[in-house]
Symmetry: C2
């Protein structure tokens, strides 16, 4: 990805729930020093904890890029955003978007960018061209976060693991596979935006041959149990050739993201399915630990839940943000 000019104004649009603003949330959490504030339209129910400011105030604070930190399933852009986008361009900011739709495909946005000489950056669209997957074993080690569902902590867990592993002196690199991860890491590939034939090939490109003691800590995507995105998940799993998987889970959900008719899978079934699928390209691939988003539980309840999970499945279980990832790092092969 071409680097964006900093600092950023986070545009939350009219996000209908907090998860819709997960791109803004991720950047505000992992890179707060890059953000001057958040801008929200009427009806927006998301809040990423930055100060609410206008586009004019962002300009006064020196914002150089307005990041569209909100996505809707499928990634289309509502008409109601146009005026804010053109204002940001007029006030000297570039625009960066993680949506499937390209910013330049919206005539008013393209015209305003041309008029004011600003850049439109489509983070989801890699200029990189990929080969099809080869499945050839390569040196170096790889960890992939996988999930019982979408949006249940795969990116945060991978970032927390990279941070902890580096603090321990391990040779580890976070590998971003989604628009938010790419914005945080300033490199990577939004794998859900790759042509279907090249999912595994893109994952292989992202995690090339490396030193024997090097760990790629790969951000997972989707879930084998989510009927919309399972193909992306499997292609990434096979391309990443993971030595270790960390299963991410949100215990209070009753159904998978956005599909009330699809129940969440059982954690044991999920471990078995990921182990079985992962073995195709790496016979040693296995889930080594569980990372749970326990935000909805009190601390006592969270610890009890994690202890039970750990005993039931014979592996460490933690909330990576609340209780740290040390037990997961210890479980790595």
């Amino acid at each position: 990805m071409e680097a964006l000019a900093k600092p950023y104004l986070m545009f939350l649009g009219d996000a209908k729930d907090q998860l819709a603003a997960k791109t803004a949330d991720g950047i505000a959490y992992w890179r707060p020093e890059w953000c001057v504030g958040q801008f929200r339209l009427p009806g927006c129910v998301a809040d990423v904890g930055l100060e609410d400011i206008t586009i004019e105030e962002a300009q006064a604070r020196g914002a150089k890029t307005m990041v569209l930190g909100v996505v809707n399933s499928g990634g289309f852009m509502p008409e109601s955003w146009t005026a804010s986008l053109t204002e940001a361009l007029a006030r000297g900011m570039d625009l960066a978007s993680g949506m499937h739709a390209r910013l330049e495909d919206f005539p008013e946005v393209a015209a305003a960018a041309a008029e004011h000489g600003r850049r439109l950056v489509n983070v989801r669209h890699s200029e990189q061209s990929f080969a099809t997957g080869k499945g050839q074993r390569r040196s170096g080690k790889r960890l992939l976060t996988v999930g019982t569902d979408c949006s249940c902590g795969k990116k945060y867990t991978a970032l927390a693991l990279e941070k902890a592993m580096r603090a321990l002196g391990l040779n580890a690199d976070f590998r971003a596979t989604g628009q938010t991860g790419v914005l945080i890491a300033e490199r990577g590939v939004a794998i859900d935006a790759v042509i279907a034939d090249f999912i595994s090939g893109a994952a292989e490109w992202l995690t090339p041959e490396n030193d024997a003691d090097h760990w790629d800590v790969v951000e997972g995507q989707g879930s084998l149990f989510h009927p919309a995105f399972s193909g992306v998940t499997l292609g990434l799993l096979h391309g990443a050739q993971a030595d270790a998987l960390v299963l991410c889970h949100e215990p209070t959900r009753t159904h998978v993201r956005a599909l009330p008719h699809f129940p969440m899978p059982d954690v044991g079934d999920a471990i078995a399915a990921y182990n079985a699928s992962g073995r195709l390209t790496n016979p040693d691939c296995r889930v080594v630990g569980i990372s749970v988003n326990t935000e909805a539980l009190a601390e006592d309840a969270a610890r009890r839940y994690l202890d039970d999970l750990s005993s039931s499945h014979g592996m460490p279980a933690t909330d990576s943000l609340r209780f740290g990832v040390e037990t997961l790092v210890d479980a790595l092969p």
Copy 2:
């Protein structure tokens, strides 16, 4: 897909093996009345059984479209083809291609098409935009062909099933999911060229709600056991919501297509994996029969192999082209 002008000249390029010409093979087999001949470059080892003619002879026979009936993994176009493509355009033919690369991205080809007023048709690129998959159950029945590997009979089996089912008075439609199928059916979507996030959504679009007794006979893609294309396979399986699967197999292969380091899966393991994966979006999804490409076996050996396979797995096993698909149709739920 926009309909192509007929008849066709089949361009085989310098295909390195017969499978590389599978698009031409499929059209020549299922729609021979649309073809005036085949054109091959030096070094071409494929032969689809049409008369070898020059581009000039094809023009004399009234060819209206030259179909690039050859693909290489990844779908790129060799430079050595350019002269033939521009000659066909100069001789009044449109060009149709099933490759990932777009014909108009090759400057000499684009210039010749403009000069001679001919069309460039990229079969793999649908103008259709898709939603993400919803997993909502819909009326009508769906059969999907799946495989132990790529290129092992999924399209031919589906076309043979459509033909036989229609002959029995059943309400059945072949649903094309690859460039060859789209060229044969003159509709459908090349699902391996869809953006990864929309694989399942495209499969849902292709097999919409229908009469309760209607069968979509869906062409499968790739294989859960091929590390390059497993994501496409799983997304299609989940989107198609199949009631019945027919497993396609080629018994003499020792490794999956193009990857000598990847052994073929066991047929029983493949049945179990497809049944387990398919249940996510349709609890009744199961493999109901096996279709084997027995071309490499003598008739006696082929019949013995199929009998053994049928007893081992408790379901009909046939070679759809050699021995017919009646036993498979009888096994449908």
